[in-house]
Symmetry: C2
Subunit: 430 residues, 2 copies
């Protein structure tokens, strides 16, 4: 069988990352991982293959995500699915291991899969970098995750703004305005589009949900009110609805931490921030690039106190809060902004054998023992071509090992930047 050209295409929504891209992604991954560890997070690794029943649990991603779930059957006739996030696998681990010391603060970096619409920077197979904490009640947890996000993006030299809100406040307000309980979730999803489609379009969509005109007038007033981004705006509503008062209290606590840490410029309260997913129960936040090079969020998360308890089966609330960074969208942002990322993989020494393969191998080996990154030439191409490539790829030093060098027991090390040459003894390379 001769393969046809078509066969080399990647599956729609997937892509290869060639070295130039992957070196940047690798650097982002390591930076995030190192920051996660600095914040006391421990690594966890969960399988990609899961029982469909687990991933389709009502404590999971919700109807929209389930439609996008890749499912398959194994040889043992098990109904399996590829994970679509790292949150449910985390909740599963917490549920399966009740003796894990709490709070359990873990990070996981791994592939997830969604058979959904594709757009710029959005794939069907992509990498998420998540931190979640189970067993932490206080808003200190949220504050620390937000701080961690600022720290991570700072290290990546990306200026971000974190918008935050509280689900209780938002749903409480909608209730006070008269939105019926069964429409709250849909109304929240509509509000989530405010930034994108504007107030009028939001109100039109809400009308389409058969929310009454009088309610919509109140919502519209709320959306356009100048003071709605100040917490004390909600004080009078708090008396009318316990969700609002709870949400407000949590927001005040969180804000006090952000003020104290002096990160209230980068962390901004947005009373309409909604987050698409249904699982959130308290604080929610989304991270945006301030330069606008990518308009979708590059990270997000919040508190979801029902999922772990729901999976455990006791139904009891177990405090859980998390944050998720999208490696692919961060990478897209780096490329879009033409930021330079320092990658570690530049070759220190390029060793070219000219009829002295063994000795060249030994020199390469000796340099690696000293900790250097060394490439040994293997193509057998002409020296001119090789030096050209070395120059292009930013190789730092070139060493040619030929018969002459073997005879003299010496070789030259040429610094590519300056053209300087140094003579080294062969015997030093053992």
């Amino acid at each position: 069988m001769k393969m046809k050209k078509m066969d080399y295409q990647n599956v729609k929504g997937t892509q290869d990352y060639l070295p130039e891209s992957e070196m940047i992604r690798r650097e982002v991954r390591r930076t995030l991982e190192d920051v996660f560890i600095q914040y006391g997070c421990k690594p966890l690794e969960t399988p990609i293959l899961n029982y469909t029943e687990l991933l389709a649990s009502k404590y999971a991603g919700g109807a929209e995500i389930l439609e996008e779930m890749y499912t398959l059957t194994d040889r043992g006739e098990r109904d399996l699915a590829l994970r679509y996030d790292l949150t449910i696998p985390f909740a599963k681990v917490a549920a399966m291991n009740p003796t894990i010391p709490m709070p359990f603060k873990r990070y996981e970096i791994g592939k997830v899969f969604r058979d959904g619409p594709i757009k710029a920077g959005r794939f069907r197979e992509f990498t998420q970098c998540d931190v979640d904490i189970v067993g932490a009640d206080s808003q200190v947890a949220e504050a620390e995750l937000m701080l961690m996000a600022l720290d991570a993006f700072g290290q990546l030299d990306m200026e971000v703004e974190i918008q935050y809100n509280n689900r209780k406040l938002l749903t409480g307000m909608l209730k006070v305005f008269g939105v019926e309980a069964n429409l709250i979730n849909q109304a929240v999803l509509t509000l989530d589009k405010l930034e994108k489609i504007g107030v009028d379009a939001v109100i039109t969509e809400l009308s389409d949900l058969s929310i009454s005109d009088s309610t919509n007038r109140l919502i519209q007033q709320f959306l356009t009110d100048r003071d709605n981004n100040r917490l004390d705006y909600f004080g009078s509503y708090a008396e009318r609805n316990s969700q609002i008062s709870e949400g407000l209290q949590e927001l005040k606590e969180l804000t006090s931490y952000l003020d104290f840490l002096d990160i209230n410029k980068q962390c901004v309260f947005n009373p309409f921030l909604a987050r698409g997913l249904e699982i959130y129960t308290g604080t929610i936040y989304e991270i945006f690039l301030t330069d606008g090079s990518i308009t979708s969020s590059i990270g997000s998360g919040g508190r979801y106190d029902n999922a772990v308890g729901g999976l455990v089966g006791t139904g009891e609330n177990i405090s859980t809060v998390g944050i998720s960074f999208g490696l692919d969208v961060i990478y897209a942002a780096i490329i879009a902004s033409q930021r330079t990322v320092k990658t570690a993989a530049n070759v220190d020494y390029y060793v070219i054998p000219l009829g002295a393969g063994k000795e060249a191998l030994r020199v390469a080996n000796g340099l690696r023992k000293k900790g250097y990154i060394v490439e040994l030439e293997m193509s057998g191409r002409k020296l001119g071509k090789l030096l050209e490539r070395a120059n292009k790829e930013g190789v730092r030093n070139v060493i040619v090992i030929g018969e002459e060098e073997v005879k003299k027991n010496q070789f030259k090390v040429k610094k590519m930047e300056t053209g300087e040459e140094e003579v080294w003894e062969m015997s030093a390379m053992k």
Copy 2:
């Protein structure tokens, strides 16, 4: 829906790695990655989801692996499969990107999937760590990969032996002994079990393949000959079969490198080493632990010059050679041998707030800015319990921040190992 207990089981052949395990795996992964980079390898990332047609190509893993392939259909009715190795995706990338500068030397660390039998240290979802080079003819490539393997396992403090052979030599010998062409592959697979099942069982299996008694007598003699592990043993056969002479020449070249690098104690010629997969065309090698704590190989690879050309569709041979390390089996070996692996994730400072959450958060933040790994207490549990846990987890220093500390603008840092205390100024933590 209340979840039943069963729902928390992981899918057969998959497992979670909790922090204690994952910290070790992470260390192994980073060690391998750093060694790969030192040897001039560049990172590549390929999708897990592939077209079934690509993975089922005849240049791919062969019939046995295809049976174990997880397949699925996406919402666009595409026939997809989960990759079962990293080699075919690499060959695909080489075929899709004909302008990549050669030799192209890449590493990839990623999940692969095989719906096959499970045994100790063998899973259905597992992580491979591969290095492959396309465009390198000479046995220098093999020598360098073997050197790299020794280097990597040396850094992991694991003593290994690398057994090597050449497919041409083995198939040439079988031909000379009279094995028919269509039975060669099966005979090779049988010989691969020699170490496990012994000479007699191998001969019985060969007879079952309807290989003639006279041929089997010659094979038996070969298998039991004392000198068969010396290359000059094959000299006389080389004249009778060009495959043998080619294989022998390659082995001699490789051996001369191994001698010169003084790694011929760790690298041992084994004339019966076969490697299960059909794709190999020249040198093959397998890596074993010398302490026997794990008897299956912990890494393997070889030269497969037909795959990339086959995928490109030209059918032309393109020199390709690779090596693959199994993260899961290496991890199993580390656990089996009770080796200690230095993991970096021990907490430097454990900050416990006692009614001074904000200040504690700021102290934690200040220490992280200095590069330390810091855990901020969030459970609100009693101090005694917290110190107990800190002790158990090897936390280095504990800091308690209460009202007293805030008032005095000072706090104590307690070294857990010695019990020593130091007083620090709060103002130093900004």
